[in-house]
Symmetry: C2
């Protein structure tokens, strides 16, 4: 069904403005921003065939390309030009030469923020429309997670450049004074409990059990042996962090056909070697084996910890401030929100005060239905309700054209991943079809308007 991206994608670099919102001499520095294009199914500018643009987020495009399928899966149907743009300061699109130069210098990293990033995309898309003689081609922007936020914000800020946006799993309300900051762990817990009450109970009890064992003489050695760690644990926090991440990622990416939460809970409920009488920690370790497979050792903190990049860490400490807390009603040890402490840590590390109010100031978020039901159009907010981020997204239609497309069983960014005719469940196929039909509707209405309005208007208006 879908083509391999690597077959027909060509890589380009755009000479991008470093600072769109300043006109001092420094702002005129440029950097090379990577974008990839596939014109394999492109119907051409003369027919105003559409352009699908994937908006890169907090990762190299090399990381995203193997997963993202929505564009290539639908290129033939829409005769669409496909464009993938990389986010500034990620992958090969890093100003000032290297990531270290760009991010370890307080002046240089200031240019890394979402407003600059979507302004980059505005420039690139205009450039591509000119290059491909496609000035009348409708542009649909597509992104997932933070990239989904960017897609929805792009449609709102640059309606003259993008006709519509597919914002997959975009937690645009994930800011501390809009959405309760304990919602993420509540949903993770709910996901596990719905699969198995005993699994949920076992996990809930395991944290105290870990602490108890750790407090014994040789406790860390006992835990290291029990979990076959690749290196001896330095403290019980390493183990707890590993398990916390495993459960959260399991819930967030609880995808068909494997459904990690099912695998984890089966491991827990079956116990070691199928012995359901195993003790709590053996059951937990059983879930690690179930998920990761049989390995000589597990839990290698230096590797598992490295997921968060320097660039994204900076973004969350400057504008994307949405710290998460673990409330009292979860299967995790409670960890109340300490926003002040979080902001102080950021300040100590980066030397500047974060601006937690900036995102709601620039993009909104409060009373979003009240605001947007009467403003804007053509945004799909897609979510899978098992995704713990879904509750910071848009789950109700805002208007006839700003709509929510949710699935009960879906997970994070599932809809924009490559389609798989063999393993995709019906509800996922249906979700994607709904999205495609909505986008098709936008494009058809646009073509109608293009004839009715553009050709009958005076040139000036």
């Amino acid at each position: 069904m879908s083509e391999s991206n690597s077959e027909d994608l060509k890589t380009y670099f755009y000479n991008q403005t470093l600072d769109h919102f300043n006109f001092n001499p420094e702002s005129f520095q440029t950097f090379q921003q990577r974008y990839l294009i596939s014109s394999k199914y492109w119907g051409g500018g003369k027919s105003s065939s559409p352009i699908f643009v994937y908006l890169g987020a907090e990762a190299s495009l090399d990381f995203d390309l193997p997963y993202v399928g929505f564009l290539s899966d639908n290129a033939a149907r829409f005769n669409a030009l496909l464009v993938y743009t990389e986010h500034r300061y990620y992958g090969e699109s890093i100003p000032m030469g290297t990531e270290g130069m760009a991010l370890r210098n307080a002046s240089n990293r200031g240019y890394l923020n979402s407003a600059q990033a979507i302004a980059d995309y505005a420039e690139i898309i205009i450039f591509i429309k000119q290059k491909f003689h496609a000035l009348n081609s409708p542009v649909i922007v597509i992104g997932g997670s933070y990239g989904g936020m960017l897609a929805s914000w792009f449609r709102l800020k640059y309606p003259h450049i993008a006709l519509g946006a597919l914002a997959s799993s975009a937690p645009i309300l994930d800011f501390y004074d809009i959405t309760p900051s304990d919602i993420y762990y509540s949903i993770v817990t709910k996901d596990f409990r719905e699969v198995s009450e005993t699994c949920y109970q076992t996990i809930k009890k395991s944290w105290a059990e870990i602490d108890e064992v750790a407090s014994k003489p040789n406790g860390l050695q006992i835990l290291s042996n029990k979990f076959k760690t690749c290196k001896p644990l330095r403290d019980s926090g390493e183990l707890k962090f590993y398990l916390d991440s495993m459960f959260c990622n399991g819930a967030q990416y609880n995808e068909p056909p494997r459904y990690p939460v099912n695998i984890i809970c089966k491991g827990i409920d079956d116990g070691i070697n199928g012995n359901s009488d195993s003790d709590i920690l053996s059951k937990i370790f059983s879930s690690v084996i179930s998920l990761r497979g049989n390995k000589s050792c597990y839990i290698n903190p230096p590797i598992d910890d490295a997921e968060i990049s320097l660039a994204w860490d900076w973004q969350t400490c400057s504008e994307m401030v949405g710290p998460i807390e673990r409330g009292n009603d979860t299967m995790f040890p409670p960890s109340p929100l300490d926003l002040k402490g979080f902001l102080q840590e950021c300040k100590d590390y980066y030397g500047i005060s974060a601006r937690p109010h900036w995102i709601p100031t620039y993009y909104g978020g409060h009373d979003i239905k009240l605001i947007l039901h009467n403003f804007g159009s053509n945004i799909i907010f897609s979510n899978g309700l098992r995704d713990p981020y879904s509750r910071s997204g848009i789950l109700e239609n805002i208007s006839n054209t700003i709509v929510a497309v949710s699935t009960i069983n879906g997970s994070h960014c599932l809809d924009i991943q490559k389609a798989n005719a063999t393993t995709d469940p019906d509800w996922l196929v249906a979700q994607r079809n709904t999205e495609i039909n909505i986008i098709d509707g936008w494009i058809n209405k646009y073509y109608h308007d293009l004839l009715q309005i553009k050709k009958t208007s005076r040139k000036m208006i």
Copy 2:
């Protein structure tokens, strides 16, 4: 009818962020931004009474306040809180201490641009809504000319902060690749010709006449005597610049009850001392006397030239690039567009390249009806068709809620000036009533939605 602004306005200063779009240490500098508030007719936050915000433009608020009347004239009717915000780098809202420091330094002046300015307004309005416990109060932003552009852009970029915008005489399409750059002088010419064909003919012939006299021995002395200049003319360009400005300003601000174009043309057609057989230059000088009154001398270039401020000059040389040309069909000597030369002059003077494409990239403008008929809402674009800038504005309804309110006889920003029950013509009263009724409709719909949507929605959405 209208209250004197000075009676009940209080002055405040907001500690404004210097750079909203960067997070480097320099961007955290702040400056004191002036705003004025009148709460005389304010109905209070509990009743969600509206807030009218005048968005300052390329001048000190001290310059605008005596003229602007739309807010104070309608405060009582709407029980509105009135806010006047001053544009960064103008009046008393200048970063880095003084205008010289701010604008003569290439790094410092880079922060002066429209995107930063409307972000300032976003912060100030949010701050005021909190301060006045008026989170549910609808905000209407109002501005004229460049300030009208800012008002319409503010509604488009910050719909979560402003419910609607009254954009008076906002030439949002006044950019070189959107609107033909010779339109301004065409409309000035049309305005004069419609008042008097002979007046138009006289002006049209006068430029060659000035050149001819100037080329004679003692020509400049003859011209200086003829026009009773306060200082001897250094070249004929001084005289031509003066007359050009007088005709253009006459057309742009062709306001009741005086109607400068009528006065100028009466002066020309009547001739000196009512002698309609006067020679061409005497007729032209007669119009100067008619307009300016009897004075001991006229045409004092150092004063007349000083209208353009340093700050606005910088803005037109960085992002607000819309140079004007004089085409072949006007009453002025043709002066074709030399964009390249204009940009080079800017570069020579300011050391950086202007970004003429930035405004259309950030705000749009091309195919605006095609784009906005299906996006956005609640903008009034008001124009007087005698205003030469009107043809770079929006003169047709874009949608049911993005509307044009034009008057055939109106001039630049006339509708937002103070109402005058004695001298305002009916068409002006009608225009203002139309605008007031539209705004009233927005606010009533908002109150309805506030009850229907906000109170029935889950908190999160």
